[in-house]
Symmetry: C2
């Protein structure tokens, strides 16, 4: 954890001073993305220090052959890896024949990075004294265009400070790249063609096996004092996976030379493979016609539109403000909801760890954020993604021994196939199936759009209900149905029996599916007939499901009056976290795995996660009991944990605790709580941060088709505000220590509840409560 590394600022992420040991961390924190592509904040110029190079194209992956120590039946043969794509940002810089490389410079002064979240650009500046004693001032600005999402732009400025110098810029493309995360050191890219033209270059390459065809492209121009100085054209350098232009210019002391570089990718997901170069030329033409500065103006407008809907303001607490904006910004950099083939990778475009792009995080954490800050269509698109993978989920379940259309969605996936291979997670963390069903319910609850269920969702629900029915077994001993051998959300317990959360979800999934069957039968008879025809579902089968749901076992402790996280929880040595030596934490870095497993320490909310999903099933007294029992054992070593605890603490009006959890979730990466930010950011949990403000502090819920609020505010804040899109109605909520203002857009009135009381909102007017 490092609290002073990033400078507090309401709208920007700022680093000051060059520290070679921080380069990898900053590469993560200053990552940029536009939903279609993204990249770590690697230096454009050569850097020989420790770095983790990464540039990623949404949806492009490689099925790396699985490598494990000991193979277990059921492991997937292939693992979809997030794929480092050819580098288009590279610009080698020579000053008087000396390579500019911050690792070998005599001196680096005034090093500063800024990620401007309001406007969507990244800037780096420094004064470097090279080994040959040339001293130059360097400023670089970079952004990935939201308007032309195949294109990024770089302005690279060099000013010699003490003498006239020769500046050589070599902007280049490089497809000879590798992955940090690779199982067998296979080659992932095959370069097929390089075109090095006047000011433009194109490298065509395709991924091995998956055969995604890409064209990586660039176009550069060089300017001094607003005058183009590359008229005679650059010289060229080419190898089998490299294409570079060489611009050589004399620059007078105090004068700035700048390289404008546009680059990016055209991909066969969006163009015919044979048209990739022409598509690249077209988008380059568009970009250069607009020019760097105007494209940046458009970028600001595009981000302003995003912020207009999704911004959360916090008054009186800069770090909290910076944290929430960083979370919202990164979520939008990762996924904008434009393309139903994409999803929200746990590291977005900021790293490779974990592979795959889709976890249960999407359903449990991200959908609420996107529903409320974008629109129904975006959320529906995320649900459709799972519908499109239903066949593969059924195949996956078959592989594990299930039958008759039972579906087990993968723990991690890029294309619907499982690509995770730890048995205790891949085979046993089956609660993910429940999150997918819950998201269907949640989508309807929030948007009011029922049509997804008859059209698609019902099939998904049937596959999931079938899975739970088959996965439970009857225990003669308990005279109840049990679910054995699972890993719950708390991954610090493996292969346990009767994880309460899993059992509860299973029961709920079955009951919900049966309800929806009835509802679709009555309201959408054609869809019903189609789905029944497809699934061959009979009343006998649903009766069997019902028997399992009605007789599900839930471990409960009479002594403590709480549900037990799993059968064996009370046999553990129940020593609370506060008695843990600080030197032993995080336990996942200090303790052996067996020790973690038999400890009572909880990686992330488990029963409390269930109480979050189904809060109306439990009274506040029950919540309090469970919170007081489990929270003291929770170490929050998962990024997905603090947000749920923040929401529950707020609900219990424990605002100081809620605030601390909020800080932990919102500044997890900025302050590097878990000492791993250099591997990339925790994107999906950032949606949990949003929830902890809107649902936690704001107390927003949907009850009986109406928005409801129970506003609270941490004492550290003067006020905060957020906006939600509820069924096409935009509502702006501002909360201070004393009042809450609701401002409804549009032209219809809307009824909400505040602290349980009905409040009628008039459009265009501020209602203060």
């Amino acid at each position: 954890m490092n609290q002073d590394y990033i400078k507090p600022n309401e709208w920007s992420i700022i680093e000051e001073g060059f520290d070679a040991e921080r380069v990898k961390s900053s590469e993560s924190l200053f990552s940029i993305g536009n939903g279609a592509m993204g990249q770590r904040a690697n230096f454009e110029e050569k850097y020989t220090g420790k770095t983790f190079q990464g540039s990623y194209i949404a949806g492009v992956y490689y099925p790396d052959k699985t490598r494990v120590g000991w193979w277990k039946n059921g492991y997937p043969e292939y693992f979809a890896k997030v794929l480092n794509a050819p580098n288009w940002i590279g610009i080698n810089v020579m000053i008087n024949n000396e390579q500019l490389d911050l690792h070998t410079c005599k001196k680096v002064e005034d090093f500063r990075r800024e990620l401007n979240m309001k406007e969507g650009w990244y800037k780096r500046s420094f004064v470097a004294t090279l080994a040959n004693d040339c001293k130059v001032d360097v400023k670089i600005k970079r952004f990935l265009s939201l308007d032309l999402d195949e294109v990024g732009a770089i302005k690279y400025q060099v000013t010699p400070l003490e003498s006239d110098v020769e500046v050589v810029f070599m902007p280049y493309l490089d497809s000879g790249i590798t992955n940090e995360d690779s199982n067998w050191d296979d080659t992932f890219w095959n370069t097929t063609k390089i075109r090095l033209e006047e000011n433009q270059a194109f490298i065509e390459a395709h991924t091995m096996k998956t055969n995604f065809a890409t064209c990586t492209f660039m176009q550069s121009s060089v300017w001094i004092n607003g005058k183009n100085v590359d008229k005679k054209g650059p010289s060229k350098k080419q190898s089998e996976s490299f294409a570079g232009h060489i611009f050589i210019n004399k620059v007078e002391k105090g004068t700035t030379i700048e390289l404008h570089k546009f680059g990016g990718y055209t991909v066969s997901m969006n163009h015919k493979p044979s048209h990739l170069v022409s598509a690249a030329k077209k988008v380059l033409e568009q970009a250069t016609d607009i020019g760097f500065d105007k494209l940046l103006e458009k970028q600001k407008l595009a981000w302003a539109a995003i912020w207009k809907m999704s911004d959360i303001t916090i008054q009186g607490d800069v770090k909290a403000q910076q944290g929430i904006r960083f979370n919202i910004f990164q979520l939008n950099q990762t996924y904008l909801g434009k393309d139903s083939r994409l999803n929200i990778g746990p590291k977005g475009f900021t790293g490779e760890k974990y592979g795959g792009s889709t976890y249960w995080d999407t359903e449990a954490y991200c959908i609420p954020f996107y529903m409320a800050t974008k629109n129904q269509k975006v959320a529906r698109s995320l649900l459709e993604y799972r519908y499109n993978h239903l066949e593969k989920a059924i195949e996956n379940a078959q592989k594990l021994g299930f039958s008759h259309g039972a579906a087990l969605y993968p723990m991690v996936t890029m294309n619907g196939e499982e690509c995770h291979n730890e048995w205790e997670i891949t085979f046993e963390e089956i609660h993910r199936n429940g999150a997918i069903a819950f998201a269907i319910y949640n989508y309807y609850r929030f948007t009011g759009d029922y049509t997804y269920i008859p059209e698609m969702g019902l099939e998904v629900l049937i596959g999931i209900a079938r899975f739970w029915h088959q996965r439970a077994n009857f225990s003669e001993d308990k005279a109840k149905y049990v679910i054995l051998g699972v890993t719950g959300p708390n991954e610090y317990e493996n292969n346990v029996n009767n994880n309460w959360y899993t059992n509860y979800l299973a029961k709920w999934c079955i009951n919900y599916t049966i309800e929806q069957l009835q509802k679709v039968k009555e309201g959408y008879p054609e869809d019903f007939d189609r789905v029944i025809g497809l699934t061959k579902l009979t009343d006998t089968e649903t009766a069997k499901w019902k028997k399992v749901a009605d007789n599900m076992y839930f471990p409960f402790s009479e002594k403590y009056g709480v549900y037990l996280q799993q059968d064996g929880f009370l046999d553990k040595e129940l020593i609370t976290v506060e008695h843990l030596d600080k030197a032993e934490r995080p336990i996942n870095q200090k303790w052996s795995w067996d020790r973690i497993l038999r400890s009572p320490y909880i990686k992330q909310a488990d029963i409390l996660q269930g109480f979050y999903l189904f809060e109306d099933h439990f009274g506040e007294e029950q919540l309090e009991k469970h919170f007081d029992f489990y929270e003291p054992f929770t170490v929050h070593e998962s990024s997905l944990s603090p947000c749920v605890h923040s929401i529950q603490a707020a609900k219990l009006d424990r605002m100081e605790q809620a605030y601390q959890f909020y800080l932990r979730t919102s500044r997890l990466d900025l302050d590097d709580y878990n000492k791993e930010v250099e591997e990339g950011l925790h994107i999906t949990s950032m949606a949990g941060t949003w929830m902890s403000v809107v649902e936690g502090f704001g107390g927003m819920r949907v009850i009986d088709d109406k928005l409801s609020f129970t506003p609270r505010i941490p004492k550290q804040w003067e006020g905060y505000s957020f906006k939600v899109n509820f069924r096409g109605r935009i509502l702006n909520v501002k909360i201070t220590n004393t009042t809450t203002d609701f401002e409804l857009q549009g032209n219809e009135e809307m009824s909400i509840r505040v602290n349980g009381e009905r409040v009628a909102l008039q459009p265009g007017k501020v209602t203060t409560v």
Copy 2:
């Protein structure tokens, strides 16, 4: 499984007919070894078909860097790999310029292998028609000398059948070999020097990292009609890891040319590294002075001496006879008890799988065999091996979070360090610690030699008792001590709570250690003081141990009247194995791991293993109840399972069942029950086969310092006999349908019990009961 592949024969393993698909299986089955080295039955001549090349030197290993899919804290950094050593058996053969290669021959007739267990040699013969139509009769005999255990000998005979031919023999050494089992495809051997002299060659090579220096050597001569025909000396071929001699001779049709090749290894474990070549020359001189035929005569005598003590005869059942001899033969090929640095690898010298050389198999299965068929010294040497590793066991426990001298012996080791890396086994299959303590008890029980305990064993016991004390925790809920998160002998359940076997062993270990502390204090006060000084053990500490032992929890079912294998066993769907579809077996090849884990199917005896170790703690009625409850769920997919069931079935007088289990254990590899023999033989479980005859059918026990027998005989047998060395007294036992004969060697009388009745045996006389 394949019952007709190996021809039934009392003393030999015989294969007839060439089947390229069986080559790898036969390479395992026809393996030879002499305790110091061993090798798979690879062909001497070139073979381009599927083969698994393996030649191994006892004690020589490589610490391969661990490779896992997902690293977990506590995993060992390095994994000691059994190491394929340079090849010295190779003999390329050219007939009229055509390479002899059974994979490319036009025709292979009369192919036959024989492993003569009585005399300790391996023979292969065939008639081959080469691609150039030359037809030759080939006979090869090979053995690894027991007398000169650094040397092996090969006689390679070729007889042209249809025309005069030119025969080229190229005997060679090759250190450019690789391992089947390698994590990172590292190079394991570094060749430092090659000497290619007249008729002799030497390759010096050392293992990377561990730096075992070896000299691989050979000397060859060629003979026609008893006349040496290589007087003028061979020509030579050398490369950076290869040394070959080339002998070219014309051979008339019907005449036999033979190559005699001696080869083997001298190793730095036994010689100074600088003396390896001179040591090799010396042993070559000894071997060639004796000559192939006389060395083979000595081999027969040496094996006769082994058989004299360890043979088990079975009358009326050739397959059973062949099975038991194969087991006894392989055990003696693997380990002869001459060197306390060595141990009994699970695959001996027949394969690489599993790595390491020492498992709990040694203590639980092998020690009884070696105690009874060798002598006290051999058994003690195996105990000392663990004493020598005590420090590393303490370090291993520290790594997992234990302290204060607690020792956890590794699951798998070559040098005392853990080299296994599946968390559910490495960290959780802790019952291995109990087997080591039990072996100390068992050694004293059988040999009467108490001195091991004060001299060494007590320290081991204290380390183990400390481990159990720390590993258990008090469950407030059960008001008992529990042991959470273990894997019992049944590896088809992982991370379970209160595995009965583990809990029982833990309690026993603590109590036994406390007893021995008292006994040593009284009988060996100096040793006691030394050990207390070393371990800083106090009465307060032992009182804490005692509290754990006295209050240990054992899951028990009132309904079934049986101890439960673990807390959750009764929640499983208790469908017995007989209801399992045959197509689903073996389940470890057909089912996903999670399905196996939540099934009731037991890989190997678990509670029944405990009842075997502590049979005097339980009545026969209890045994019967537990046998009847657990046996129907046992799939015996571990090689260590059927022998225990055979012993327990015999004890319950269920002789047909006992016989079937006996066949399964004794012919596991010969009939390839588990479809994996090509990876190597199951050496350690072979000692279990011996136990199933001597302890199962013969009912041999040590009770109150006396041997006791309860002889039984399967109805398929006419009679059987075995011999045991009990405290230096050799007793021969012959059992038929009607009588049991005891013949005592030596000159003192001895009292035994037969079916509970005291019987006095006179030396040199046969007593019939």
